[in-house]
Subunit: 300 residues, 2 copies
């Protein structure tokens, strides 16, 4: 079987997770230029915005890049039409059924990855003919599976049920954790948090600085009745944690969350009222750095 690098035509087995409000053309093209696979995060883009970012990404790199598409996205048909029209070579889907789009994308020669948090969905990926499975543990920032299985426990269990190319995601941010993931049986890794805090990320500088000062234990899985989401501790997350400890209803939780809080926190830098989606490994990242710095640190 081809290696991940052969399959994706990349130099290093590193995929940059497609993250809301962080991963536009600047980040994705920087990662692809550095020898990894950059992914545009469609989850926070209107279709027109995505089209623009795809075009800019093509102008900024002649290496392969892809798009991450959360399948519960309302404009999913429009998004996929743009991806196909623009001949994006790689799509990573998440938050939905891998059978929904894999065949269509394959018809257009697109390589398909899908993100899972349990073995049930890993088997569904296998059946759907997905090319690459991403096993994402509970350390990951933002939206998470309900099982709260860590990468250390999840990866070997997914490896046991599929022969597909397999990426470890969640909690990986360093050479040591990359090597640990490979020891667990991964063909490569997807890294989010470290790239989210890099210079090329479109996240607000105040968000990046805040996350670089977190200690372990200062991100939490919250909003569990809606969709478990890992957030950095801030006044908004504290209100959610308090309400959840007191058994808040689903409706009241929706009202408490409101709309647009991820944009407010990550993109606009509102550290009080925004939702600060970031992974548990933020506590290991302390310094400002570029994408090139990250690859030098991982592979020097």
């Amino acid at each position: 079987m081809a290696t991940l690098q052969e399959r994706l035509h990349i130099q290093y087995p590193i995929v940059q997770g497609g993250m809301v409000w962080c991963s536009g053309w600047r980040l994705a093209s920087a990662v692809s230029n550095a020898g990894g696979l950059g992914l545009l995060g469609a989850g926070s883009m209107h279709p027109d915005t995505l089209e623009l970012h795809i075009q800019r990404c093509k102008a900024a790199t002649n290496k392969p890049f892809g798009v991450n598409v959360p399948l519960m996205y309302p404009d999913i048909e429009a998004i996929m039409a743009i991806i196909i029209r623009e001949k994006v070579p790689i799509v990573f889907t998440s938050a939905g059924n891998p059978k929904a789009w894999t065949a269509t994308l394959h018809e257009h020669g697109i390589t398909v990855g899908h993100v899972v948090s349990n073995t049930t969905f890993a088997r569904k990926c296998d059946e759907a003919g997905v090319d690459i499975i991403v096993a994402e543990g509970m350390e990951a920032g933002g939206h998470n599976g309900r099982e709260e299985t860590s990468t250390l426990c999840l990866l070997p269990q997914v490896r046991a049920v599929t022969d597909k190319l397999l990426l470890a995601a969640g909690g990986i941010s360093s050479k040591a954790s990359f090597q640990a993931a490979m020891a667990l049986g991964a063909d490569g890794v997807q890294m989010g948090t470290r790239f989210a805090l890099s210079a090329e990320s479109s996240a607000h500088p105040a968000f990046k600085a805040y996350c670089r000062n977190l200690n372990e234990g200062q991100t939490k899985l919250l909003l569990k009745r809606l969709s478990p989401t890992r957030l950095a501790q801030n006044p908004f997350s504290e209100r959610v944690a308090e309400a959840e400890a007191h058994g808040i209803s689903l409706e009241d939780l929706k009202a408490l969350q409101g709309k647009g809080r991820a944009k407010k926190g990550i993109f606009e830098g509102d550290l009080e009222e925004g939702m600060l989606e970031i992974g548990q490994t933020a506590g290991s990242i302390r310094h400002e750095e570029t994408v090139a710095d990250i690859f030098a640190d991982l592979f020097a």
Copy 2:
């Protein structure tokens, strides 16, 4: 600096976690005889029972073994007096301040390990002169830290603040996860769950069989207002989860838990009403095996 093996006079860098209702003299001596370090779990023993287990362990192995002592144990003075009188060479403490007993144990030539779930306590271990730090992630069975940091994220952060000998614990049950832990910077690992389900464990056969059939996602961190505890899913855990989702008060939670449920579940095999403390990696363990089988699998 001496390696873990040199420091503990053992062949392999594997410590068997001292677990309530699982780790009596039979399990601890089997692990020590196989070349690891066996630990008696004082947390579920009256002082007289511990004394008996220490004496039987000495009769069953001439290799080093130790005792795990949760420091919130009510009979702590009596327990420590027995350990010192019986000249047990190694003590792992947990659930308390590492400064409380380290100096006393050192005066008697006893090597001291301490279990932590965050860097704050790792630093306290350093200051207290503890010999070995165990960084235990949220995958671990039974009592857990409040931070819910996974082993993958915790180990490198603890490694960054101390030069002490460092064990990774939580989620480690296989050659691959052992190698992953070593890649993360550990000097060795502490394994609980796999030994808890081995033939030599004093857990009830029904408990072992039940845990070998769990899938990922079927253990959960519960009882968070009391002391976060990882339990296998069963009717009792479902009642707790439901009550916690509805904001149960601390007093009502204490009443719901009642007394003696860990013994009931683990030692007596009551799969409906017992507390089934087991780690997240149970989902990777499917077959009956002895301690010798485990070491052969890890080091063949």
